[in-house]
């Protein structure tokens, strides 16, 4: 709505810029006319159009959190090799869009010299989708960028190569709010609490809406209670599953615990429909400690999974498909992860996950 102030009109409700103005000419010309694509080598693919035109994409990993200078740097590179046209991907990678094949190698050389990893395509380890973590979020049970950096340093070769049995998509959520829905990934790492929140009894009334707080609990562990004459809440610690949702709606129920916050690892999920239906990741490791700056326990666990997967999966099998074929008991045996009562689903619909048959590899 117009808000005349010093002669300028306040701009609102305009949405994004028109995408058509940001497409390279080769894309505008061949929009909707693409015929096929080929992956030429890790991080490089060509799309061929019905017109015969060829669009080359060079993909590099990025950190998602980037400086303005990074943005200027990639802008300069894009100017040099592809007329300034680039895009980002759903997994926070960066793609340069070239119409000149001869620019591919010089571009890659320059990118590598600047420390950009070229890859993340085909049968590789993709960039890890992640959240803000300790960098910028009040509900985080762990840091995100740090864990991602630690993992990608360790498994760098899987990103820049394409020798895994199939693509591996890892994701990280610093708490159970799971911004980014990491729960349908080959390997999902999730920040977890394992102690109930602390009730700041005399602050509940001032800071929170008690009915909303009670409703926020997935297991009905939050109850109203008068404490010191003031309306407040209590937590039934027998029921509490430490999800932290009450804290999300009520600042007077902090749950962060430096000793007991940690990370869980879930495996075997996928979003794509190819060969098998999309499915959530399932619990492999319930809790590993937060051990910044490198989280060695998490790295070891992920290494165990990747090695077992590399050794055992057939070509084209995603992690979940490999596990379904060999069976979960064998997965736990090979990896050495302990199967505990925590692994058995006791939430709503948990009973649907039991094995109602005689099927067991003996």
């Amino acid at each position: 709505m117009p808000d005349v102030d010093k002669g300028t009109v306040r701009i609102t409700d305009i949405g994004p810029p028109n995408y058509e103005n940001f497409l390279p000419p080769i894309i505008k010309k061949n929009y909707g006319k693409w015929l096929y694509h080929e992956i030429l080598k890790p991080g490089v693919m060509v799309h061929v159009s019905e017109t015969g035109d060829k669009l080359y994409t060079v993909r590099v990993g990025s950190t998602r959190i980037v400086s303005s200078d990074f943005v200027r740097e990639i802008s300069d590179i894009a100017d040099k090799y592809c007329n300034g046209y680039l895009r980002f991907t759903t997994r926070n990678n960066l793609e340069f869009l070239l119409d000149k094949e001869e620019n591919i190698e010089p571009l890659i050389k320059e990118l590598q010299a600047l420390g950009f990893p070229v890859g993340g395509m085909d049968h590789s380890l993709g960039n890890i989708v992640h959240t803000q973590g300790w960098l910028h979020c009040h509900t985080s049970a762990s840091d995100a960028s740090g864990v991602v950096k630690a993992l990608m340093d360790e498994f760098y070769d899987y990103f820049v190569g394409d020798k895994l049995p199939a693509k591996v998509r890892m994701a990280f959520a610093c708490c159970l709010n799971m911004c980014g829905s990491v729960g349908a990934s080959d390997i999902a790492i999730v920040g977890m609490h394992r102690r109930p929140p602390t009730v700041m009894a005399d602050r509940v009334k001032d800071l929170c809406e008690i009915p909303s707080t009670i409703a926020a609990c997935p297991v009905d562990a939050v109850r109203p209670k008068t404490i010191n004459g003031k309306p407040s809440v209590e937590i039934d610690e027998d029921r509490c599953v430490f999800c932290g949702n009450c804290y999300t709606v009520c600042p007077a129920l902090p749950i962060a615990d430096p000793l007991n916050d940690g990370l869980a690892i879930f495996v075997g999920g996928k979003v794509a429909n190819a060969r098998t239906k999309p499915t959530f990741s399932k619990l492999a490791v319930p809790w590993l400690p937060n051990n910044p700056p490198r989280w060695p326990e998490v790295i070891e666990a992920v290494r165990t999974i990747l090695e077992a997967y590399k050794d055992g999966a057939r070509k084209g099998e995603r992690v979940g498909e490999w596990i379904e074929r060999i069976g979960w008991p064998k997965f736990f045996k090979i990896t050495g992860f302990e199967f505990t009562k925590y692994h058995i689903d006791d939430f709503r619909l948990g009973e649907a996950t039991m094995n109602y048959s005689n099927y067991a590899r003996l």
């Binding site: 949405g15 994409t57 943005v71 909303s212 190819a274 959530f280 700056p293």
Partner: protein, 406 residues
């Protein structure tokens, strides 16, 4: 040390290694931004303490909008004054995440001048995020972005910024123009994006094919996925070329979830009436196989994160509709369906209840009736096994009436 002011031995460790270092990015921004310098110090404190140092709550926003700005206030403002207020702005991305160097540089200048010199490309929903400004700076940051053509994105109990895959801009498998739809819906629903009126968040994502490179089936309340109805187009010569490279029967035919393919004597045949459009065969032989020509979209509903009733993927609501024809009518069918879903959710949903949870609570049948869609077997894995059917029709012993609605 990272940055210039604070000792950061733990973060310094993360400057080593082959993968790009986010600490170096923070440092680059900190060279120009004292408040980002303090952000680095605050993060190091979290690394020491193993807990976040951000306060819960606190409001931040621009006039007239109920979203787009996410307030962040640190709990250690005396020690790190630059983080006393260090908010995030969600900036509506260009569809398909396409940019030019020119517009990126302008965004970089805005970020330096009006914030802490830090971006997310992109946030989880799909917006660009600009980090590191105070409430009093929000309006100018917003207007500078708007003058460049970028509105704020959604946050709070609103429609979140729709996003999409690269679609027809680059992908031969896109069955409809994902960028066009996303752009169109974003403009149609500006009010719902900027002025929260829902029980909770609502996300829309558009994928060109069931490979779902935007993860819409897991990450959006309403997932629009392109499919085709007719036969997969086969180039037998190209199939023969692939046959030289790998065992087509083992890696393609045998992997078909409905076993509708055959490869005998060098000829590939597909019983398309049994094809469920999983994309595996097309993925495996992009030069040989292409989606059919009768293209459209599927709509899935209800995906969400674990809170509160558990995680959900989207289930099929509309198995096929001609979205390309709908495009000629400005996506009237799609918008009408979306509004019906919102009306139902407004009417019957509770606070912080996602659409998927509401449907689960009231029953899919009731939901379908309300939004005027017929129940279809494509919506279910299989029909119910339990016999607890809530019949609505029954007979009454009456001379004149044979049957009566319950």
């Amino acid at each position: 040390m990272a940055g210039t002011k604070h000792k950061t031995p733990l973060l310094d460790d993360l400057k080593e290694g082959k993968w790009p270092s986010f600490v170096k990015e923070l440092e680059r921004a900190a060279q120009k931004s004292p408040r980002t310098d303090d952000l680095i110090g605050l993060l190091e404190k979290s690394y020491r303490d193993h807990i976040p140092h951000w306060k819960h709550g606190g409001m931040a926003g621009v006039k007239g909008y109920g979203g787009g700005i996410v307030g962040r206030f640190s709990d250690s403002p005396e020690e790190f004054p630059g983080t006393k207020e260090y908010h995030t702005a969600r900036i509506n991305q260009i569809e398909g995440f396409f940019y030019t160097s020119d517009v990126l540089r302008k965004l970089a200048d805005i970020c330096d001048e009006h914030a802490g010199g830090l971006f997310n490309f992109h946030g989880s929903t799909g917006d660009i995020q600009i980090l590191g400004f105070k409430q009093e700076e929000a309006e100018e940051l917003f207007q500078k972005c708007a003058q460049l053509g970028f509105d704020l994105g959604g946050s709070g109990s609103a429609l979140r910024t729709p996003s999409c895959c690269v679609g027809q801009a680059r992908c031969e498998w896109a069955n409809y123009d994902t960028m066009h739809v996303t752009d169109n819906l974003t403009r149609e629903f500006q009010n719902e994006i900027h002025r929260p009126t829902f029980n909770y968040k609502f996300k829309i994502k558009c994928a060109g094919c069931p490979n779902d490179c935007i993860a819409s089936g897991a990450r959006s309340d309403l997932s629009i996925v392109g499919v085709w109805k007719d036969n997969i187009r086969i180039d037998q010569n190209q199939v023969a070329e692939y046959a030289k490279k790998f065992d087509i029967k083992k890696y393609v035919v045998d992997k078909c979830p409905t076993h509708c393919m055959d490869y005998t004597d060098g000829k590939l045949t597909i019983d398309d009436s049994n094809c469920v459009k999983c994309m595996h065969c097309i993925n495996s032989m992009p030069k040989a196989l292409r989606p059919g020509l009768q293209k459209g979209a599927q709509i899935r509903i209800g995906a969400k994160v674990p809170m509160v009733q558990g995680p959900r993927l989207g289930f099929i609501l509309v198995p096929f509709y001609d979205i390309n024809k709908d495009k000629e009518e400005d996506y009237a069918f799609l918008k009408d369906l979306i509004r019906k879903i919102w009306d139902f959710w407004d009417e019957y949903g509770t606070n912080r209840e996602r659409v998927g949870e509401l449907i689960q609570r009231v029953g899919v049948g009731n939901f379908l009736e309300a939004i005027e869609l017929e129940p279809l077997p494509e919506m279910v894995e299989h029909p119910r096994a339990n016999p607890f059917i809530k019949f609505e029709e029954y007979l009454v012993a009456d001379e004149e009436e044979e049957s009566k609605e319950g």
